[in-house]
Amino acid sequence: MGYHFEFGWIAEYWPVLLKGVGITLQLIAIGALFGVALGGACAWVRALGPAWLRPVVATYVEMIRNTPFLIQLFFVFFGLPSLGVQMSELQAANLAMIINLGAYSCEIIRAGIQATPKGQFEAGASLGMSRFQTFWYVVLIPSLQRIWPALSSQIVIVMLGSAAVSQIAAEDLTFAANFIQSRNFRAFEAYAVSTAIYLLLAILLRQVLRGVGFTLFPRRAAR
């Protein structure tokens, strides 16, 4: 059939798209930063931390990994207010992404810690470092380096998954596409453009993460 593609609307709506891209980027930047930090802390607990905390973290990780992000998002945005915690849709989206990525990166980083040669722990111990000092100064960086590719992929996956935040009115890239098509009924064009932007963002994000990897880890990790 002769569907007539029409992209003239971009001229009118590019501020909406641009804002969407900005919000998606902001979401993933904050989500990745704090999510990985949370994941690192949880990984420490699960691999080396106090025994009583481990089941708590394990439960958190299992709950998040086995339910869809959208549902988690709904609970944060619509559920937390009933406990008296009000937040804007952006804060809720950020929080949900941090919690989500935190659980995934916990498992990934833990694998990296567990792949650390025993000798590294022993070297730290025999130099008089405490268990936490050994973890912090000796084990963490090479562990992160070991799992950096897996972690990068997960961050990209979370970025693509962030499309769901449009459902709580956070005005990300997907929201922009939906908003535009709800005004002009140009769904194909709007989705095609947003898909292309997502692809671009994913490629870009992967490059950025590679660069971060290179600067963070100047050297080969011990295997």
Binding site: Y3, W9, F74, Q86, A169, N178, R183, R186, F188
Partner: protein, 236 residues
């Protein structure tokens, strides 16, 4: 020619909402029910063909139409010039009284008072188009994916006010929630239209005839009574 196709096929595929009560939601058997659904049934029976209902969302209802997976979209569509460039609309088949609702203690009486308030609305719905037009600069409009999002946001206090249909607000109040959405002012009575593909004059003409007949015969009024609890207004 779509009309000929439909007649030849003996069935008509009609997109209806299932996330927008009372126009379309589901019954306990998960089958769509509502104003739009009854309207679809009416059209099918008038055409003398079998009805296939296709539940759609605001994100995919137009693509369904454009890829000919459905023949008509009866999904409480509102009209604007941009939309009219893409699809055709029938004459109005339903009224939609929409207004701004908020708890009693919120002092809002007209559009200008919305300045600085967060107002929830269902993205792409009639009230979204209307509210966007009248809301003053500085109104924080939050557009949710579906009615459920809008209502949850209101009930959980994420937005101060919502713009929605009076029937929707009535349904919420009927459930005795802690926050009662009370009418602050009417935005507009903006009617809903049936959507169809462009360049189908035969189908459009037939459709308009059916709607005019139904209005005259009172069948449409019966549907309005059933789902909206009031008569069709005079301007429909």
């Amino acid at each position: 020619d779509a009309l000929a196709d439909i007649t030849k096929r003996g069935t008509i595929n009609i997109a209806v909402p299932q996330d927008f009560p009372p126009f379309g939601s589901v019954g306990t058997d998960m089958k769509p029910v509502g104003y739009d659904v009854d309207m679809a049934a009416l059209i099918a029976s008038k055409l003398g063909v079998k009805l296939e209902l296709v539940p759609v969302t605001s994100a995919n209802r137009i693509p369904y139409l454009q890829t000919n997976k459905v023949d008509l979209v009866i999904s409480s569509l509102g009209k604007n010039p941009d939309r009219e460039k893409v699809i055709d609309f029938s004459t109005a088949y339903a009224p939609f009284f929409n207004g701004v609702f908020a708890p009693a203690d919120l002092a809002v009486a007209k559009a200008e008072d919305l300045k600085g308030l967060t107002v929830g609305v269902t993205r792409g719905a009639v009230e979204d188009l209307e509210l966007t037009k009248i809301a003053p600069e500085g109104t924080d409009i939050k557009r949710y994916e579906d009615n459920n999002g809008t209502i949850s946001a209101f009930l959980s206090g994420q937005v101060k006010a919502i713009a929605t249909g009076n029937v929707v607000a009535a349904a919420i109040i009927a459930r005795k929630p802690p926050k009662r959405p009370e009418i602050k002012f009417l935005i507009k009575n903006s009617p809903c239209f049936v959507g169809l593909n462009k360049n189908e004059p035969a189908l459009l003409e037939k459709l308009n005839a059916i709607i005019a007949d139904a209005k005259k015969s009172g069948e449409l009024n019966a549907i309005a009574q059933k789902w909206l609890g009031s008569d069709l207004p005079a301007d429909i």
